[in-house]
Subunit: 358 residues, 2 copies
Amino acid sequence: MNVGILGCGTIGGGVLDLIDKLPKESNVKVVKVFDLPSKKEMLGERFCDSIDEICQSPNVDVVVEAMGGDKFPYECIVKALKNKKSVVTSNKETVSLHIEEFYALAKENGVKFMCEASVGGGIPLICSLIDAIKVNKVDRIFGIINGTTNFVLTKMAVEGLSMEDALAEARRLGFAEFDATADIEGLDLTRKICILSSIAYGGYVPYSEIYHYGISKVTKEILADVKNLGYTLKFVAESRRTGDKTCKVSVEPVLVKSDNPLSAVNYEFNSVYLNCSTNDLLGFYGKGAGRYPTATAMVADVNRIKEDAGKYYYENNGNFEVENFLATESYYVYKDGKSEIVKGIESADKYDFVARIF
Amino acid sequence: MNVGILGCGTIGGGVLDLIDKLPKESNVKVVKVFDLPSKKEMLGERFCDSIDEICQSPNVDVVVEAMGGDKFPYECIVKALKNKKSVVTSNKETVSLHIEEFYALAKENGVKFMCEASVGGGIPLICSLIDAIKVNKVDRIFGIINGTTNFVLTKMAVEGLSMEDALAEARRLGFAEFDATADIEGLDLTRKICILSSIAYGGYVPYSEIYHYGISKVTKEILADVKNLGYTLKFVAESRRTGDKTCKVSVEPVLVKSDNPLSAVNYEFNSVYLNCSTNDLLGFYGKGAGRYPTATAMVADVNRIKEDAGKYYYENNGNFEVENFLATESYYVYKDGKSEIVKGIESADKYDFVARIF
């Protein structure tokens, strides 16, 4: 089976490396890699500078998209699917916006669309979710799905660093981009919970309608106060199905007690839980980011395509209406150095910081 | 796809119930159920009292074995595979003894042998392990894989019950058999870590050679002493590959610090971790026992057979040599009301109780 890779950066380069190291009997090989001309020398004969040499090539069976961003990757994925190539992507941005179209095009063209690596990095999460919904109803998903912010919050809470220093350390270790806004403000988590919810419910949970409140206002003082109250602060995404076409979804800081398994998920690790109708509570834990964990998830997707496993047809029951938890749940509210816990808030605006009691 | 069920007790009855509730489009149905004559009325036309009506019937595609025990289930599984029926089983006893033969017979006859529910109940553990070894090397497996003993230890440590009372409560809730010896002495965990290790290493890790030390000697005094030292006591199975054909495996009580994720796994829940070469540490959490979680895992296996997913060929690299950790690791040793931590012990015999420092 011949693979073409779009983008040979951290993740795409990891995929190339892992596939090159597979035993010959696996019959999987990378035949073309698209990237900027600066990579030409490194990639040798496999280099190409036109996506058509991959997305339209009769010699490519599977396209691995590892570029990031929306517009261009979207065009590449659509072109590949229309040319009857299965697609593997780690791109949560474009998947969260076009998940319905990607699954529909894959079905129409008799190929597979796989996005395991778009949520939870190396954790076999989406394949487990898809497996689960074939025999269960999944009505609630929650967890820590952003390694950067979990690393920052752990560094602040456990080692007493400021957010600035924690972020600098995360950048040094490769856990954060130079511009970490998408992580800190929760956009990355919003994309991921959009993808998980849409797959779980078989209907689109619009990315743009998901409530998100970031962690930029978290200070050492707030963390000390939270600890004093017997809680740990975590940045969590949660989705609950509330009806046939309705759900509650949020990305926000939450306070957990020490007996909650999320409280022990530290540094760059992710952890996600699914509430299943017959299988009860299922949990998954692993590295949510990083070259080899993410690349491993993509190679596992390539392998599923090879074995014709991982069959999934998105039900497309139409858009879900999305509410948040603000009005109905208890919140820790912090203003002018004082905090209290209140039942339901109108908005976070009039406080210095708020976090849901989990 | 037509399913025959062998044994309609707690688990088999759960499988029957779940498959009967699948939507018609799933095309999966139970056509025959083998059990004692006392179930005849309840099962109606689907009842049969000869396994040949299932294992040799041209009308059955998949045999679900949910009887427990070794000899008779072994004969049924062999007969089914030889008659080119795929087999789904939750039976850790017979799988731990004949895993090589079952996988070999399945391959020989062009069908599938699936045992997801034999370890970790409803947790999608074996499918994730098999997925992992296709693209990773898995060199270490550890976790809490027995719900009964974890429930008992949690009840004792958190609620202060005696072992006798905790066991009575576990029986009342359906988490323990009347004779809980196989759980308390670690035989159940030994079977499960044998299955996981053999699959992970592609070679048989002989059940009979795995060191196991039970929790029957745990007292309230020991738990108080352990807590005092800053630890939580857990009953854990661990397997580490140490060479091409060697490994260290044990089933024994261990002491974990509060920052170890196993410390927060309580009551009937299970949690298993895999150390993977490229995917780092992966963790799984869920209900390790109970009617519907276990039945869900079996129905998921039936579904994988239907979709022709979950392909796995046991490598059969021959038997592994098995050592334990006694000589090389640190142990908490307790005798005559006093404890100390020592590096390496010859055997547990000369103490009232021992637990490995994890």
